[in-house]
């Protein structure tokens, strides 16, 4: 359940990026998640909503873009097409062994979307 640690980091980075204004409201957070990142998407979403419960980010939506795996094959001298449903890291074209991953390990916060309106102080504590 390392997704909990990752969600904690995600929240910390988001908080660190918030503008210096009274109670900025985060509508959405967009992350890029590689299919070979060893992170389970549902577990990460659950961890995020668990950790944000009762906080200003309670209703923030976590938008996750899945990035497929691609490897570089030294024999074919090219980066493979996307590999879905990882069975091995062999080149899908020539079946040569390669551990050289070029895409699919992403675990990145891409952007944060903030509500523009000034917060209504009476509705928030």
């Amino acid at each position: 359940m390392h997704e909990l640690s990752i969600a904690q980091q995600l929240i910390a980075i988001t908080n660190a990026h918030l503008p210096n204004e009274p109670a900025p409201r985060v509508l959405r957070i967009k992350i890029r998640l590689g299919e070979f990142s060893c992170v389970h998407q549902d577990s990460l979403s659950k961890a995020f909503s668990m950790l944000t419960q009762g906080t200003p980010m309670e209703s923030t939506e976590l938008v996750i873009e899945r990035i497929p795996l691609a490897v570089y094959c030294p024999a074919c001298e090219r980066v493979s097409d996307s590999i879905h449903g990882v069975q091995s890291l062999r080149c899908p074209k020539c079946d040569g062994a390669t551990g050289d991953i070029r895409q699919g390990q992403e675990l990145e916060l891409e952007w944060i979307e903030l509500a523009s309106e000034a917060p209504d102080k009476s509705s928030r504590t």
Binding site: H2, F36, C38
Partner: protein, 226 residues
């Protein structure tokens, strides 16, 4: 008014990665060769680490270890029998070690005079994969009792490992261990991985393993101080 988008574009584990990077250069400056041992529970990490500590001490090196477990200091007690300084991290449920957990233990170890630091991660084939601990060598252990398809089922760890130690080789025949399939599966995930087949019980393969560690430290140190 429109909502505002703040472009961030940062790695979520950036803080850990940066700390690990600075620890790695500190280790290299001090001439401490650090390895991170990862495997499922029960693969024989502690037993192999215990004989490794003993042998390197016998060869005249200064060694130390940090060991992570959910609970208890049993592994630290076992490793400390070698005479090496050992620190136990109890994660209380956390399934992996992170760079800041290691950093907190460093003040308790004689780093300045140390040649090897071994980090025994929490027994888990998934979660430790994403956390760089500042190591120069990541070691995955796979015991013959676990089955040959482990590298394919847990490709993240095996892809990021420099070394795969196939342990408990004395049990290979009893377990109908398929050696060729195992080697092929490791190659499918990380063809550059250096593979050793060892038995802590009979001593098979251990000399090669100890020699390799010594050689890797020598190369690492030559590269750093070139």
């Amino acid at each position: 008014m429109e909502p505002r988008i703040l472009e961030v574009r940062t790695k979520i584990l950036k803080k850990n990665d940066e700390l690990a990077r600075s620890m790695r250069s500190r280790f290299q400056d001090l001439g401490v060769f650090v390895s991170n041992w990862v495997s499922s529970p029960g693969s024989g990490k502690t037993a192999l680490l215990e004989v490794t500590l003993r042998e390197l001490l016998h060869r005249g090196f200064s060694v130390g270890a940090i060991v992570g477990d959910l609970e208890t200091d049993r592994d630290a007690m076992r490793l400390a029998r070698s005479g090496a300084p050992v620190r136990q991290i109890m994660t209380h449920g956390c399934c992996h070690l992170e760079a800041d957990m290691i950093e907190r233990e460093l003040v308790h170890l004689p780093l300045a005079t140390m040649d090897f630091l071994f980090i025994e991660n929490v027994g888990n084939l998934v979660c430790p994969t994403s956390w760089d601990l500042g190591e120069s060598l990541r070691i995955a252990l796979l015991s013959v009792t676990e089955g040959e398809d482990k590298p394919l089922k847990y490709p993240g760890l095996f892809n990021t490992s420099d070394v795969v130690l196939i342990t408990k080789s004395d049990l290979a025949a009893v377990c109908d261990f398929d050696r060729q399939a195992t080697l092929k599966n490791i190659e499918s995930i990380q063809p550059k991985a250096k593979i050793f087949e060892v038995s802590t019980k009979t001593g098979t393969g251990l000399e090669n393993w100890f020699d390799y560690l010594e050689e890797r430290r020598r190369i690492d140190s030559a590269l750093t101080h070139a």
